[in-house]
C-alpha cells in the first residue's frame, strides 16, 4: 500500500505528519500546507484536503492558529476565486473555538477571503456563514460574527441588508459582555459600509445603546470607536450625535472611560469643525487635564501639544496654559513626566513672546524637578525651544540640571543624559560646551559602570564629529590620553575603546602622531587584557593610517605581542597580523 516514488517521498512524509503525534511536526506540516495542496492539485485540495482540515478542529491551539493563518492565503491552491467558498467551512469552525487568538486569526483570514470573493458567492456562502455565527450557540461564535459584517454587507441585496443590520443590533445587546465588547469594537468597521441614511438611524442607535452599557469595558470600547465613527458622519451630524456622547463620557464615573476619552479627544477634534471644538471639546479637555485621577491627567497631558496645534494661540494661552502650569506642579511624577515630554512642543505654537513670558517659567521648574525622568524629557526636546527663543534664556538653569543628572546615582539616568550630550552640544554651541560640559564628558570615562564608560567613549566620538578634529585635538585628546597613566586597568581599557572610536573620525595624521604612540605604549602593559585589546585596536587602526605607518609601527608592535606568554594576546596579535597581510595583498 505504501509504495511512493522516490521524488514524492518528502511530500508524502509531510502529509503524514499532518497527523503526527509530535506537535512540532504537525506545526511544520501545517506551515507547508500550500506545498501539500500543490502536490495534490486543485481538485483534490478541494475535495479531500479542505474537508480533512475541517475535521481537524480539536488540535492544539498552536496548530489551529497556524491553520487559520495558512487558510487566509489559500485561494490560489483551491482553484481561484470561484472556489474560494470551500475555505469558509474550516474557518467557520475555527471561529468558534475557545482560544481568542485562533478566533481572531480565523476572522482575519475570513475577511481576507471574503474581500476577494465574487458578489454572488458572498451572498450564497459568506452571508449565511455570518448569520450562522451570529446565532451561534456559544458566545465565541457570536464574538467572531461581529468582525465579519463589514465584508458581508456591501454586496447583500436590500432585504438582506436590513436583516444584517438588525442582527448586528441584537449582537449589541447580547447577554454576554464579551459579545457586546466585540460588537462595540467592530462597529466603526461595519458603519463604514452602511449607507448614510441607515448610518444615521440604525448604527447611531446601536452606538448610543453601547454607550449606555452597564459594563465599563463595553463603554470603553464604544469610546475608542468614537473618532472613527465621527469621521464617517458629516461634521454637523458628528457634532450633533457624537459630541454630546463624548462630553458625557468625559464626565463618566469611571476613570477608565475618561482615560479613553483623553486619548481619543484629539482624533475627534479632527472630525468636528472648529466651532464645536471651542464650545464643547475645549472645556471637556480642560476638565480632563484637571481630572482627579492621575492616569487620566497623564493621558491628557500627553496630548497637550497636539491639542494646542488645532486651537488658535489665543485660546491655547487662555485655556490650556493655566492647566499646563498646574500640571507642572502636579503631585504625580508620571503626570509631570508626561507633560515634560511634550510641553516643549508648545513653544512653536505659542510664539516667542508667550513662550518667554509663560512657558519659560514652566520649563525652568520642570528642569528642577526632583524626578529625573521629568528633567530628561525636557532636555530631550530642547531643540524645539531653541528654534523659538534661543538657548540663552534656558542655559543658566540647564547646566545645574545636566550636572545633577550626570551624577545621578542610577546609571540608567546617567546613560540617558550622555545620549543627549551631542544634541545639547549642538544646541548650546562650542563655547558653552567647553566651559561647562567638557569636564563631565571626561568624568564619565571613569564611571564605575561599564555601560556608562562605553557610552562616554561613544559620546566623545560623536562630539568629535560635531565639532571637528581641530577642536577635538584641543579639548578632548589631551585629557583622554592622560588616562593612559591611570592605575585602574579598566580605565585604561576605556581609553583604548575611545581611541579605536576616535581614530577614524580624527583622521590619519592625528592618529599617527597622537593616538598610535599611546597604543604602542600600552602594549607593554602588565595586564594581558590590556595587551590583547591593544592588538584589537591596532587591527582597527590599520585602515585609518598610511601603509608606511602600518609597516613601521603597527606591525612590529603586533609581532612583539604575538610572542606574548598569554594565549589570548597571541591570538589577537596573530589576527591583527593576518589582516595587515590581507590589506597589503589587496592593495
Amino acid at each position: 500500500m505504501s509504495t511512493v516514488e522516490a521524488p514524492l517521498y518528502p511530500i508524502a512524509v509531510l502529509i503524514d505528519e499532518l497527523k503526527n503525534d509530535d506537535i512540532q511536526l504537525r506545526l511544520d506540516s501545517i506551515r507547508r500546507l500550500s506545498t501539500i495542496a500543490r502536490a495534490l492539485g486543485e481538485e483534490r485540495t478541494r475535495s479531500e484536503l479542505i474537508p480533512f482540515l475541517s475535521e481537524n478542529n480539536d488540535d492544539d491551539d498552536e496548530v489551529l492558529l497556524a491553520m487559520a493563518e495558512e487558510l487566509g492565503v489559500f485561494i490560489p491552491y483551491v482553484g481561484g476565486v470561484e472556489h474560494a467558498h470551500v475555505l469558509l467551512t474550516p474557518l467557520e469552525t475555527l471561529c468558534t473555538v475557545e482560544e481568542t487568538c485562533v478566533r481572531d486569526k480565523a476572522v482575519e483570514s475570513l475577511c481576507k477571503i471574503g474581500s476577494q470573493m465574487r458578489e454572488n458567492d458572498l451572498i450564497e456562502w459568506f452571508t449565511p456563514l455570518v448569520k450562522r455565527l451570529a446565532a451561534g450557540e456559544w458566545f465565541t461564535a457570536r464574538v467572531s460574527a461581529c468582525g465579519l459584517f463589514h465584508i458581508a454587507y456591501p454586496s447583500a441585496p436590500e432585504t438582506l441588508k436590513t436583516e444584517l443590520r438588525s442582527i448586528y443590533g441584537q449582537l449589541c445587546q447580547d447577554d454576554m459582555p464579551m459579545v457586546r465588547r466585540s460588537a462595540a469594537s467592530n462597529l466603526w468597521k461595519f458603519a463604514g459600509t452602511v449607507e448614510s441614511a441607515h448610518l444615521k438611524a440604525d448604527i447611531m442607535q446601536m452606538f448610543e445603546d453601547l454607550t449606555q452599557d452597564d459594563q465599563d469595558t463595553v463603554r470603553l470600547l464604544a469610546v475608542e470607536g468614537c473618532a472613527a465613527l465621527g469621521k464617517l458622519l458629516e461634521p454637523q451630524d458628528c457634532a450633533a450625535r457624537i459630541l454630546p456622547v463624548i462630553v458625557t463620557f468625559s464626565q463618566d464615573k469611571s476613570w477608565r472611560v475618561r482615560y479613553m476619552v483623553a486619548n481619543q479627544l484629539y482624533e475627534l477634534c479632527e472630525a468636528v469643525g472648529p466651532e464645536p471644538i471651542r464650545t464643547d471639546l475645549l472645556p471637556a479637555y480642560v476638565r480632563l487635564l484637571r481630572d482627579n485621577e492621575a492616569e487620566v491627567r497623564i493621558a491628557a497631558a500627553g496630548k497637550v501639544t497636539k491639542f494646542c496645534q488645532i486651537l488658535s494661540p489665543e485660546l491655547a494661552i487662555q485655556h490650556i496654559l493655566p492647566c499646563v502650569k498646574e500640571l507642572s506642579l502636579d503631585s504625580s511624577q508620571h503626570v509631570r513626566a508626561a507633560l515634560a515630554s511634550v510641553v516643549m512642543g508648545m513653544a512653536p505654537v505659542l510664539g516667542k513672546d508667550a513662550t518667554i513670558e509663560q512657558l519659560l517659567p514652566i520649563f525652568l521648574s520642570l528642569l528642577k524637578d526632583e524626578f529625573p525622568d521629568v528633567r530628561l524629557n525636557i532636555i530631550s526636546k530642547l531643540d524645539q525651544v531653541n528654534q523659538v527663543i534661543g538657548i540663552d534664556l534656558l542655559s543658566q538653569s540647564l547646566l545645574p540640571a545636566i550636572v545633577e543628572l550626570a551624577e545621578d546615582r542610577h546609571w540608567r539616568v546617567r546613560l540617558a543624559i550622555i545620549e543627549y550630550i551631542p544634541l545639547l552640544a549642538n544646541q548650546l554651541g562650542v563655547g558653552f560646551f567647553d566651559d561647562k560640559l567638557g569636564g563631565l564628558c571626561m568624568q564619565w570615562l571613569q564611571d564605575k559602570v561599564y555601560s556608562i564608560r562605553d557610552a562616554a567613549a561613544n559620546n566623545l566620538k560623536r562630539l568629535a564629529e560635531e565639532f571637528g578634529p581641530d577642536w577635538a585635538m584641543q579639548h578632548i585628546i589631551p585629557q583622554v590620553l592622560e588616562i593612559a597613566n591611570d592605575s585602574h586597568y579598566l580605565h585604561r581599557m576605556t581609553l583604548l575603546r575611545a581611541i579605536s572610536l576616535l581614530g577614524p573620525v580624527l583622521g590619519s595624521e592625528i592618529t599617527r602622531s597622537k593616538l598610535l604612540p599611546v597604543v604602542v605604549n600600552a602594549s607593554k602593559d602588565r595586564v594581558p587584557n590590556i595587551k590583547f585589546n591593544v592588538a584589537k585596536v591596532l587591527q582597527s587602526l590599520i585602515s585609518v593610517v598610511d601603509q608606511s605607518v602600518v609597516e613601521k609601527t603597527i606591525r612590529p608592535c603586533l609581532v612583539e605581542l604575538s610572542e606574548d606568554p598569554d594565549v589570548d594576546v597571541r591570538y589577537f596579535a596573530v589576527q591583527g597580523l593576518q589582516s595587515i597581510d590581507q590589506v597589503t595583498m589587496s592593495s
Partner: protein
C-alpha cells in the same frame, strides 16, 4: 423531603420551614483505620455557575472535577438547558469526571522559600465550546486550566509505511527527517514541478483518521506568576468575563485573563514601614453583577467595598462595614477572633456574608452601620479561646457560603460539623449537621452522644498534641479540633451542599 424544593419557593412568603438535610453522596470516604495522607486533604471546593460541575483542590496540588449526572437525559440545546427548571423531586448527583495535577511544589531560590503545591482557591470561568475552564491558585501562582474532551485517534492509510520504517529504525527514521528537510530547503523549485501536473499526484493520499474514544485532557493555558510577595488568599472572576483579581495579605492585583505577564495593583495596604502594619487583607471578591465593584475583608473584622471607577489605585474605600465592639468586652482575643476568614457576595449582589472565628454575619451593602444578621456558629467555644490559642486553632480559616436563593447561609465548625442558618426575616432556622452519612445524627444525639473518638478511626495519625486536641464541653460532648470542616460550597440553584471533611467530599441535599 419530597417537597423540599417547594418549601424554598414559598419561603419568602410564609415563615420558612427548616430544611431537612439528607445524605446524598460521598467521595473518597475513608475506611476505618485508614491513614489520611496530608496531600489528600481537600483545600478548596467550588461549583461552577450552572452547578453542573464541581471542582475540588487538595494539599497535593491536584484538582478533581465532578460532573452532575441527574440532568444528563436533558442534553439538548444549551440555552434551553439554562432556562429549564429541574423537577423538584430530584437532587443533584455527581460523578467523578477527571483530575489533574495543577500545582507542583517549588522552591524560590531568590528568597529561599519553599512554595507549597496546596490549592488555596479554585474559581470557574465562563466556559466556551464545550471546554471547561477554571483558575486555580496556590500561595504564589495562579493557573488557568482548560479541560476538554480530546478524541483519541487512530491514523491509518499513511503514505509512508510506518511498519517498514519502524522495522529498521533508527537509520530509516533519520533518513526520513533529513529527506524532508532537504525537500524544504529547495521546496520552491520542486513544487513548481508539481504544479505542472494538472491533476495532482494520484499516488499521494491524506491519512485516514478514525476516532477510537474520547478522553478528557486538562491543559494549562496560562500561568500568572511573580505578582505576589505574600501568600495569595483569594481569586475572583469579574462579571465582565475578561478580568479577575488575586489578593494576598497586603495587595490586590487585577489581571486580564488573556494576559499573563502583566497585572495592575489596585489595592495596596502595605505601610511604608512594616512595623506599622496592623491589618492584612484576608479575602476579596468581585461583585456578581457590577464589574467595577469589589469587596475585601481584613484581619480587623472590617469589609471594604471599593469602586474601581473612582481611581486606578483604590486605596480609599467607598464603603466600610464593621461592627463596633461592645465597650468593656475587650480581651486579648478580641482582635484575633474578629478577623474575617471569608466573604461571599449573595447572588443578587445586595448582601455580603462574612465569617469570623465565632460568627457568621450578613451585611446589606446599603447599610454600613452594622450587620443585618449575626449567627453564632460555635459560641460554646468562647470560654475555650485560651486553649484554642494555645493549639493555634484560633487561626483556622473557615469558609462560608450562601444558597442560590439567598435565604440560607452555611459554614463549618469543628468535629466535622457544619451549620446552616435561615437568614430570611423571622427565620429561626439553625441546623447543625455532621459530615458523615447520617448528617442529622448530631441533633438527636447532642446530649447523650458518646465520645466522638469512637467514631473516628483510632489509627489516624494527627499532627500536634493528641490529647489537647479534643475538649469536653458542658454537655459532655467532645470537640475535636483536628477534624475541622473549613471548606464548603452551596449549589448555585438547588439546596445542596458539598463539604470537605479532611480527604472526603460529602454531599447533602434538602
Amino acid at each position: 423531603m419530597n417537597n423540599g424544593g417547594a418549601e424554598a419557593a414559598v419561603a419568602p412568603v410564609g415563615g420558612p420551614q427548616p430544611l431537612e438535610w439528607k445524605f446524598s453522596q460521598v467521595f473518597g470516604e475513608r475506611t476505618a483505620g485508614e491513614e489520611i495522607q496530608d496531600v489528600d486533604i481537600i483545600s478548596a471546593i467550588e461549583f461552577n455557575r450552572t452547578g453542573d460541575h464541581l471542582a475540588t483542590g487538595d494539599r497535593g496540588g491536584r484538582v478533581v472535577l465532578f460532573e452532575r449526572t441527574d440532568t444528563q437525559d436533558h442534553v439538548g440545546h444549551r440555552r434551553d438547558l439554562e432556562k429549564m427548571d429541574y423537577p423538584i423531586n430530584r437532587h443533584p448527583l455527581f460523578r467523578y469526571k477527571t483530575e489533574f495535577q495543577s500545582h507542583e511544589p517549588e522552591f524560590d531560590y531568590l528568597k529561599s522559600l519553599e512554595i507549597e503545591e496546596k490549592i488555596n482557591k479554585i474559581r470557574w470561568c465562563q466556559s466556551a465550546y464545550g471546554a471547561l475552564s477554571l483558575l486555580s491558585t496556590n500561595d504564589k501562582t495562579i493557573k488557568f486550566w482548560k479541560v476538554q474532551e480530546k478524541q483519541v485517534k487512530k491514523v491509518c492509510d499513511l503514505n509512508v509505511d510506518s511498519t517498514k520504517a519502524m522495522g529498521n529504525d533508527p537509520i530509516v527514521g533519520s533518513s526520513i527527517s533529513t529527506s524532508s528537510k532537504q525537500y524544504m530547503a529547495n521546496g520552491g523549485c520542486t513544487s513548481n514541478d508539481f504544479s505542472l501536473l494538472s491533476g495532482g499526484l494520484p499516488s499521494l493520499r491524506l491519512p485516514m483518521v478514525t476516532t477510537l474514544e474520547t478522553n478528557l485532557m486538562a491543559r494549562c493555558r496560562r500561568i500568572y506568576s511573580h505578582a505576589h510577595d505574600y501568600h495569595i488568599n483569594s481569586i475572583s472572576n469579574n462579571s465582565d468575563g475578561e478580568t479577575f483579581i488575586s489578593a494576598d495579605d497586603l495587595r490586590i492585583n487585577l489581571w486580564n485573563l488573556e494576559i499573563s505577564n502583566q497585572s495592575f495593583n489596585i489595592v495596596d495596604v502595605k505601610p511604608a514601614n512594616m512595623e506599622d502594619l496592623t491589618e492584612v487583607i484576608t479575602s476579596a471578591e468581585f461583585h456578581p453583577i457590577h464589574c467595577n465593584m469589589l469587596a475585601y475583608s481584613s484581619s480587623k473584622g472590617s469589609i471594604r467595598l471599593i469602586d474601581m471607577r473612582q481611581s486606578a489605585l483604590c486605596d480609599t474605600h467607598s464603603k466600610l462595614f464593621e461592627e463596633q465592639e461592645a465597650p468593656g468586652s475587650r480581651s486579648f482575643f478580641t482582635d484575633i477572633i474578629a478577623s474575617i476568614s471569608d466573604i461571599k457576595f449573595a447572588k443578587d449582589g445586595r448582601h455580603i456574608l462574612s465569617r469570623d472565628y465565632l460568627t457568621l454575619k450578613l451585611w446589606d451593602i446599603n447599610m454600613d452601620s452594622g450587620p443585618v444578621a449575626t449567627f453564632q456558629v460555635h459560641e460554646y467555644l468562647r470560654p475555650k479561646l485560651c486553649d484554642l490559642y494555645e493549639n493555634d486553632s484560633i487561626f483556622d480559616k473557615f469558609e462560608c457560603c450562601l444558597s442560590g436563593d439567598g435565604l440560607r447561609v452555611a459554614t463549618g465548625s469543628y468535629s466535622n460539623l457544619f451549620r446552616v442558618f435561615g437568614c430570611s426575616e423571622g427565620s429561626k432556622e439553625a441546623t447543625t449537621l455532621e459530615a458523615n452519612k447520617n448528617p442529622m445524627r448530631r441533633q438527636g444525639l447532642t446530649a447523650s452522644r458518646p465520645s466522638r473518638s469512637l467514631a473516628s478511626p483510632s489509627g489516624v495519625v494527627r499532627r500536634g498534641k493528641g490529647a489537647d486536641n479534643s475538649a469536653v464541653d458542658a454537655n459532655g460532648n467532645t470537640f475535636d479540633f483536628t477534624t475541622k470542616l473549613l471548606h464548603l460550597a452551596w449549589h448555585p440553584t438547588e439546596n445542596s451542599i458539598a463539604c470537605a471533611a479532611s480527604n472526603s467530599l460529602y454531599m447533602y441535599y434538602a
